[in-house]
Amino acid sequence: MNSTPFAYAPAPESVRPALKPSYGLFIGGRFVAAKAGRSFKTINPATEEPIAEVADAGSHDVARAVDAARKAFPKWSKTRPAERAKLLFRIARRIQERSRELAVLESMNGGKPIKESRDEDLPLVVQHFFHHAGWCDKLPYAFAGAQPRPVGVCGQIIPWNFPLMMAAWKLAPALACGNTCVLKPAETTPLTALMLAEILQECGLPDGVVNIITGGPDAGRAITALAGKGVDKIAFTGSTEVGKAIAKSVAGTGVGLTLELGGKSPNIVFADAALDQAVEGVVSGIWFNQGHVCCAGSRLFIEESAHDDFVARLERRMQQLRVGDPLDKNTDVGAVNSKAQLETINRYLKAGSDEGAAKLEVSCALPKKGFWCRPTIFTGVQPSHTIAREEIFGPVVSVMTFRTPDEAVQRANNTTYGLSAGVWTEKAARALEMSNRLHAGVVWLNTFNRFDASAPFGGYKESGFGREGGRQGLASYVKVGGGR
């Protein structure tokens, strides 16, 4: 990119987060070392440099955290709702104050462009706390006549693609409903959650109400192993494969479960769409956050008559994407989150070519260090191809065609997933009819990848169950009647 005559000058973000060299586990309001004394280095995926050392929780530490949450529950659940609300409002404000710092840390630890962590992730994090703060003293109206009660101790396991946003989506509704939490951030992106722990402490959230445990899959398994033995609810966001394993480990315990899992979401472009707008929607649908988005529009269905024109526009637009330093304000596509994920994506890129799809990719130079993947379009994809069926979780879109709306619906729904769907058409009735017929928890008409604290998000079918956000999302964190 530097070779082009009109290359952008570097525009690095200058704020530096107040980062400690090492972090313990946040249990009972204090940072403590893991009992086994184990820790691991967390790196910047754009440079492969370590940025901090974090504790690696074992099952003993998880049990301690669950204990702390149990002890905190009686008082927290009986705290006057209006007082709980004020604490959550205060937390929202404090995050807002420190949001640039958190955004930079998010980009450093996770690889996402600062433009996104600053303009998408952090505003949504703040909004999520602010929105749910207001629910604390209004739950009887949200569940009219049903006397909603908190569930108890919530074990919450979150992924690495939107680390702080996922923490907010889990913690804010749980706390608003009077629950206490043990949260486990992903192994590769623990830092913003730990900075959030400091903020919670600073804001005066009572000790033990939120406990944050860093570690790998074993720490996650230690949480689900306590289902029914101290943990009253499990909430997980991540892959469908792990979600199923969690559902099995929770079976028979009587513990409630919500799962927000994978997707292979269709983005459907009719020939009558505003094509340039649709191109922008497809770009944000698949290249937002390096494609590390569970609801990414990874299957692009184009009405046959518009295929060639649309693909040409899309490729032209793709070539303008700036791939590189996540902390550069002009970067569109940052680093892939981890080496393991890059290897997964590369396997799918190979499968795409091997199975006969045609590959178009961004032709820019990539940094030498770090984990990078070029935004990629596969055309001529058949429904049976691996890249049309499996979630890649990378910046790779598979293009297919359709002739009639019926065919579009049939092909779009022909998946075990059902997280999101996009439709591009200028005909309102067609858009609404498609929205009725698509099996997906979120349908974006003439837009894509929009989120809001007031709008429930979650999947159909094997994309999971339960919603996050809005009044509907609260249902995951209250008991009504005797059901779970």
Binding site: G441, V442, W444, A453, A455, R471, Q472
Partner: protein, 295 residues
């Protein structure tokens, strides 16, 4: 020709069959289980539903579900109200079956049957209100028109307990169909005649064939097949044995069926829960639709 004095009339006993896809087939397995009354006398032989019967029922239920979901909510309400009319017409039959088979008092049986009929009327009124109560317009922070609405999950297996069988089946199955799902009710064997009488009431109401199917069978035997069937979208049940509950949840994890199992509470007598939209909520999916509202 006059009837000869002194010889009592022989009652015409009913053959108990399954209720599936609007018809009353026997179990394909040919198996039956004796039904005893409160005095331990065998009064009938109920069809003992097999795995294959379950699969046939799933096929029927799935085929019926899309059309049922596409019916207007107003129409579904009228159909469910019609069920109440048919139950009312058979009120005496239900009461005497509960008394005869379960040995319960007439007053007790009457309470249960009346409660079941009234609950049916309640759900007839819910169909066109669920979306207002569980869905709505979302006030997002941006120029988008966003609304969330409940949609049916699909085919739901309803595993009913032995206690208060009519009220239990009605309480578990009606929320399911009110939302536009179809139901396969695994009915308690302990009062199979009652379950089949319910099927007859449904068959003469306007419920489309396949929307409700009733299989009399053994819960522990059918639970693993329900759990592993990929075309069942959700399972609900109440007061299940721990082993059956676990089998259902383990198998459900394979394709992430929604599972909603009630234990002791809420009691089926509890209108505060069982007449509420929260009895329906576990069997809907919330779909949120976004559209830009500014150019």
């Amino acid at each position: 020709m006059s009837r000869s004095a002194g010889s009592a009339r022989v009652e015409v006993a009913k053959t108990l069959k399954l209720y599936m896809n609007g018809a009353f087939p026997r179990s394909e397995s040919g198996r039956t289980i004796p039904v005893k009354d409160a005095r331990k006398r065998v009064v009938a032989h109920a069809s003992h539903a097999s795995r294959k019967d379950l699969r046939d029922a799933v096929e029927a239920a799935n085929a019926a579900q899309a059309k049922w979901a596409a019916a207007t909510a107003y129409n579904r309400g009228q159909v469910i109200y019609r069920i109440a009319e048919m139950l009312e017409a058979r009120r005496g039959e239900f009461i005497s079956l509960i008394c005869a088979i379960e040995g319960r008092s007439k007053a007790d049986a009457t309470r249960e049957v009346d409660h079941a009929i009234d609950r049916c009327v309640c759900f007839a009124g819910w169909t066109d209100k669920i979306a207002s109560v569980l869905g709505g317009k979302q006030p997002v922070a941006g120029p988008y028109f966003v609304f969330s609405m409940p949609e049916p999950t699909g085919t739901v297996a309803v595993v009913a307990p032995d206690e208060q069988p009519l009220l239990a089946m009605v309480s578990l199955a009606l929320p399911v169909i009110a939302a536009g799902n179809s139901a396969i009710v695994i009915a308690p064997m302990t009062n199979a005649p009652l379950a089949i009488a319910l099927g007859e009431a449904l068959a003469t109401s306007d419920v489309p064939a396949g929307v409700v199917n009733i299989l009399t069978g053994i819960r522990a035997e059918l639970a693993p097949w329900i759990a592993s069937h990929r075309d069942i979208a959700a399972v609900c049940g109440a007061r299940l044995a721990a082993a059956d509950a676990k089998a259902l949840e383990l198998g459900a994890a394979e394709n992430l069926k929604r599972v909603c199992l009630f234990s002791e509470a809420p009691k089926f007598d509890d209108d505060a829960f069982w007449h509420s939209p929260f009895a329906i909520a576990p069997f809907v999916e919330i779909k949120t639709v976004w559209h830009p509202s500014a150019l």
